[in-house]
Symmetry: C2
Subunit: 471 residues, 2 copies
């Protein structure tokens, strides 16, 4: 695939020049008709993309979709049926296997100095406690870094508590630092002889009794100890108790653990390109969710945005279809270790070159405000030109170090170019991985703006392909 513009007659170049201001007419890497069609798709999405109805249907008919549960299977059936209903040309599934984690019951209460209960959520992947629970005095660390300085003398036989607060940011940048307490804290505490670990929720809902779940990772060098998150107000309460200087003893009961192997499925659907070239633009969202909420934001919204974007292209008359194929994946089990993305890369590793561009929607339902890419330098003029078509949506052109999304990560690692249509995540971590991840947080017009961005980028890449990276 070369710059499409080189083959264009002059009138098309001139037409293209009217479509965007930031690229000089004689340099435009985009076909003017294609830009006009992309603009029409973009505006159709803004007028009503149908994405809200999709996430409404998913949350209502499927609900929480923890990987490996009966709802996982229901979600797969739902996605197959929905893709067909939306008019996709092909729908199939590919197997994704993983161990099944169950939450079971969970409870934490203070024994000393006074009885009180805490709202907790077991962390994903956590082992449980003995059935009768475990009891221990709490030792507090301000953050994960402080725990790294902890001693066996401080910790042995106790329940470690890590109190760091996640900072709010539009780009969610507070998550990376805060989440280490959740992902690595348990094994670090176990290394010092702790019985269990409790963390302040990795989330920004400072005023909500909804603890945030999410994965922990055990270091196999240490004993697996139970890990759970306290809601922020519960963490405040624990800290107020600790501030009095008296020992605080807690009883923790958790029935969580890994049970069996399960095989779920990536649900894959295509809108075939008019050239049926075998090349695809790869978009999608992950179908699984945590179990506490209905997964409207994480990632019902992403599934709905990308399904709706593909549907707008499927609705085009065949002759107006882009040259290449649009492939939409409802990914299996992202939450517990990107199993869907890894299985896909494993199955399609010989076809990386057929993947023109990959990008996932997995950051809630906020509006897209930045367009990042990770493409060869030769492709940057085209991406900048696409950025100009996205600009009326309030989207600025970002840099060339895009993340792309968790599920496209394994393909990115194999060389697939990726992009990110970066969403406003200011409130995302108020609800992320909590019981509050429900449909009321989703705004239909914001979803339409997302679909407009997805259909614009998807269509233009599917039409033009990407200039190849230099060998």
């Amino acid at each position: 695939m070369t710059h499409r513009i080189r083959a264009l007659p002059l009138f098309a170049v001139l037409l293209a020049a009217t479509s965007f201001a930031t690229t000089a007419a004689d340099e435009s890497p985009l076909d003017a008709d294609a830009v006009a069609r992309a603009e029409a798709l973009r505006d159709r999405a803004l007028a009503g993309s149908g994405a809200y109805a999709i996430v409404e249907d998913l949350t209502t008919r499927v609900g929480p979709r923890l990987a490996g549960t009966e709802a996982d299977a229901r979600g797969v059936e739902w996605a197959i049926a929905k893709f067909k209903e939306l008019g996709y040309d092909k729908v199939w599934t590919e197997p994704v296997s993983f161990p099944v984690w169950e939450r079971g019951f969970e409870a934490a209460r203070v024994i000393r100095p006074v009885p009180q209960s805490f709202a907790i959520a077991a962390l994903g992947g956590s082992v449980g406690t003995p059935e009768e629970g475990l009891r221990g005095e709490v030792v507090k660390f301000a953050d994960y870094a402080a725990l790294l300085e902890g001693t066996r003398e401080q910790v042995e036989g106790k329940i470690v508590y890590i109190g760091n607060r996640m900072q709010r940011a539009r780009d969610g940048s507070g998550y990376g630092t805060a989440v280490r307490a959740r992902s690595a804290g348990a094994s670090r505490a176990a290394a010092l002889g702790a019985q269990a670990i409790l963390i302040r929720s990795i989330g920004t809902a400072a005023n909500s009794r909804t603890p945030h779940t999410g994965m922990l990772s055990y270091d196999i060098a240490f004993r697996k100890i139970p890990g759970a998150a306290l809601s922020n107000p519960d963490a405040d309460l624990l800290e107020n108790m600790l501030a009095r200087g008296e020992p605080v003893e807690i009883e923790l009961r958790m029935g969580s653990g890994i049970r069996d192997e399960y095989t779920s499925r990536n649900v894959i659907a295509e809108v075939t390109g008019r050239d049926d070239s075998g090349k695809v633009v790869l978009i999608g969202g992950h179908l699984d969710s945590w179990d506490l909420g209905t997964g409207a934001l994480d990632d019902g919204a992403g599934v709905a945005i990308t399904m709706a974007a593909g549907k707008l292209i499927a609705d085009l008359p065949r002759a107006q279809r882009p040259r290449h194929t649009v492939r939409v994946v409802a990914w299996a089990n992202e939450e517990q270790g990107v199993y869907g993305g890894k299985a896909y890369a494993d199955a399609h590793k010989d076809a990386v070159a057929d993947h023109l561009l990959g990008f996932e929607s997995d950051f809630g339902a906020g509006r897209v405000w930045r367009f990042d890419t990770r493409v060869a330098e030769a492709a940057l003029p085209m991406m900048d030109a696409i950025g100009a078509v996205l600009a009326p949506l309030g989207i600025e052109r970002g840099g060339n170090e895009a993340y792309g999304g968790a599920d496209v990560g394994p393909m990115r690692a194999l060389g697939m170019p990726v992009a990110s249509l970066v969403q406003d995540g200011t409130t995302y971590f108020d609800y992320h991985h909590t019981a509050n991840d429900t449909l009321d947080k989703v705004d239909a017009k914001d979803l339409d703006q997302n679909v407009a961005a997805y259909v614009t980028l998807t269509y233009l890449i599917a039409e033009h392909g990407l200039p190849p990276a230099p060998q």
Copy 2:
């Protein structure tokens, strides 16, 4: 007690005239020295009343205080100790007896058309379900008025759902209409043969998975059926299921019920007036709370505000104390039927005339914005003059139909004059009766403003008394 001004020397009248602008000097019903002292108390409260530390201590050391639980008894001991620690002159308790309601376990799940779970809270006073639960198809009514039009044919054997949404308002005025579904819905549904009732939470937290509990009242003419509230997002989900036109069947399991009789205590403390006249100004908040949150707003804040206001007066040198006594009550079991207020009125019904004025703080932790009274016409000039001392706090003078608060209601009914320092309740019903009623919702400076208002009104009435109602 007559208008204090009549006995004042001229210089005091002139001094008084400098203290407030809205009352002409020769008409002021307030002693100028007293006004100056009230202003000093008011400003001391604003500088730091200590109320936040009180509610922090109550939520940390006692926590949720459902009437009749072991935490009820701990709360009583806490209040006794706190009043003493704050320097009150007398502290005693008076018995308050009531039946004990227990929540027990509670769960609701959809059986048809697809399995999903709901976050529910049993309504206070509700009976439970059979241990194995009950199952029924849901029949929806838009609001309580619609249920009144319901027929046995529609309802028999089903689970009634009432979907009305409470409206947000600074004065909480949306509560009165909305709450009928909770208080009267169960018996109305039972009258039509329903198995149980579910209601959309009576609260304004449209985006929180925290159901609002609160009392229901059974009409003894009908069978007692279980009643529970769905959180607002859960109610949305149920309505989305119902909107598809397919039958929605729910399984409801509740272990709630009335167990025993219990005798708790009103905790009463006094700052003795310098004349030890036997006359009192009666203020307070209720000590009990619902069990889901720590009762920081309802009504830890009210307990703290009134304890701190009395403490500021207790801190005065004896000679500067007001003539009459300040009585602060931490009321027992307001939530389940104003038992504390009723017991007090029963015990003190022969001393109504000794109660100069009564007012309770029981509307959260928002700032006071209006000063209402319910006093004899002869006392209105004094109240207006006090209103002028409150005005710098951002408090406007309201009308003469004050509510006074639930716990002073029985004394009001016996003729006690009352007032209301009306708080801003814009967000109160986001948290009211939910797990989210926790300390993080309380702002220390807002509490200080409340204490400033309470100490001003309390001091000035304790100093001047109230002009008597005409016989």
